[in-house]
């Protein structure tokens, strides 16, 4: 198992956002986490990336415990992510955003950087070409030198994915990558997720677009009111009466 979550819980004051959630994620698969609004999906992602410290429970990646580590250590261990509300570096170009994503693989020391020694110039050229090929992969090659604050929303969603990929994560967590996108753009995301999965990157997808989820994922976890409601193959999960009730229940409210 690539990732193991053990009895994860997160309380905010008296609110139990996530409660007793355990699961294992196999490598090389697209996993989806679904559930009605407020089910605790984003809270769960924040627990899996170290942004929140769990109130209880533990997180393991490749058998190594990460619980309690700061977020940058989760990233260094191989967990990458994107954000539901965009977290672009708007003070940089698209290319620089992706180049920043290469941080974990850049070894230049302080003096080497300050004096811009030849080895830095070489490393920078390599970093630049790797970032360019990632932009190409997500379909943003023509935006490379654009100021990121001049780019459209759909492009920024993909820029976040390129930046996360630049860190070469073992596991990539996508928080609502298709939210706010039109059908064409959603199709692009669909294609991209399949492409990444075929390259061996384990994907964890939090998404409301059921067509996308059911199409790309091999394993679905359903959350409701902070608890794990069901888990399994997409077809089995979508036929589960408890899942149907949770979603219908949402509509009645």
């Amino acid at each position: 198992m690539l990732l193991r979550a053990e009895d994860l819980a997160k309380r905010f004051g008296g609110v139990h956002a996530v409660q007793d959630v355990s699961f294992e994620l196999a490598p090389g698969t697209v996993h989806a986490i679904i559930g009605p609004n407020g089910a605790g999906k984003t809270t769960l992602l924040n627990l899996l990336t170290g942004i929140y410290l769990p109130s209880a429970g533990r997180v393991f990646l490749d058998g190594r415990e990460l619980t309690g580590q700061p977020p940058h250590r989760f990233a260094a261990a191989g967990i990458g992510r994107t954000f539901q509300n965009l977290q672009i570096f708007f003070n940089m170009s698209a290319l620089e955003n992706v180049m920043a994503g290469r941080w974990l693989h850049e070894g230049a020391g302080f003096a080497v950087s300050a004096l811009r020694l030849p080895q830095l110039a070489r490393a920078e050229r390599r970093c630049r070409s790797e970032a360019l090929s990632l932009l190409e992969l997500v379909g943003l090659a023509r935006w490379a030198d654009a100021a990121s604050d001049a780019m459209p929303y759909g492009a920024l969603k993909r820029l976040e994915i390129a930046r996360a990929l630049a860190a070469e994560p073992k596991m990539l967590l996508l928080d609502e990558p298709a939210a706010g996108l039109n059908p064409t753009e959603t199709h692009e995301i669909d294609r991209l997720i399949r492409e990444l999965a075929s390259r061996g990157i384990t994907i964890v997808l939090v998404e409301h677009n059921m067509k996308l989820v059911m199409g790309v994922s091999g394993h679905v976890i359903v959350l409701d009111e902070g608890r794990k409601l069901a888990e399994g193959e997409p077809r089995a999960v979508s036929a589960d009466p408890r899942v149907i009730e949770a979603y219908l229940g949402e509509e009645v409210h």
Partner: protein, 322 residues
Amino acid sequence: MASPAAAAPPSASRKGLVALAAAVALLPLALPNNYTYEVAIVVGLNAIVCVGLNLLIGYAGQISLGHAGFFGLGAYGTAILAARYGWPTPASLAASVAAVALLAWAIGRPILRLKGHALAMATLGMGIIVSVVIATEDGYTGGPDGMSVPPLGFAGFVLAGERAWYWVVAGLLVATVWLAQNLIDSPRGRAWRALHGSEVAASAIGIDPARHKLSAFVLSAALAAFAGALTAHYSGFITPAKASFLHSIELVTMVVFGGMASSMGAVVGAAVLTTLPQLLTVFKEFEMVMLGAVLMLTMIFMPQGLVPTLGRALAAARGRPR
């Protein structure tokens, strides 16, 4: 490839560096007397502080309202070691800068956990403590009356005279801008800018926020201390005013006015706000009023600061997309 991006690409920053080197090389032709040289030297020393402070404020996105404290400590450190303990001035200068860097590291570790207003207040408090200590420890510092500082020199050679000082400061300024620009265009610089852009996203790609805020803080403090120490040796006399809260505000105003996230902006900001009060000596009493007005007007009419705003206007005039 040549279209302008959010931050100046390396080629653009190199042009800026060449322009700066040319400007400081040609400036003496326009300096008629020692007094104007003196102003130019002070501009250069302030600009060194501002280029460093800009790494912290403009690039790493952290505020400091206490950098005059580091400037003052650098100045008094070398002054006390040289004047009271007889250290050779190059050694006292280096020791003073190193000690301030160490102090900034020790102070920065706890206070850089704070954000926004809280960080502003903490650095403000630190600056005030430094200036109070300098003003009250009169056994070492001479108190509010200030103290005299031996000239910079070693083994019979003494750096003296406006012209010599001008070339030394000019060289150091160009070197500082070059080093700063190299860092900005390196992975470390991108880490700083990433923290400014989104701390949570920066940590999600493996950047340790605490470590990189601290490196920008320590580097900017060391540059402030270096310029402070040079100022002390150059002017031969220092007073606690250089470490005061008002001087901290002056430094921040120079950075904001010239343009955040622009090394050239920091230099221009230092140049304008250092020379303006000299030109308008009639309004001496209103210097702080003027400073306040500059800060307000900058924030209202060109929140990006002078140099980035002009750069953008120029690019627009040439019809290039931005």
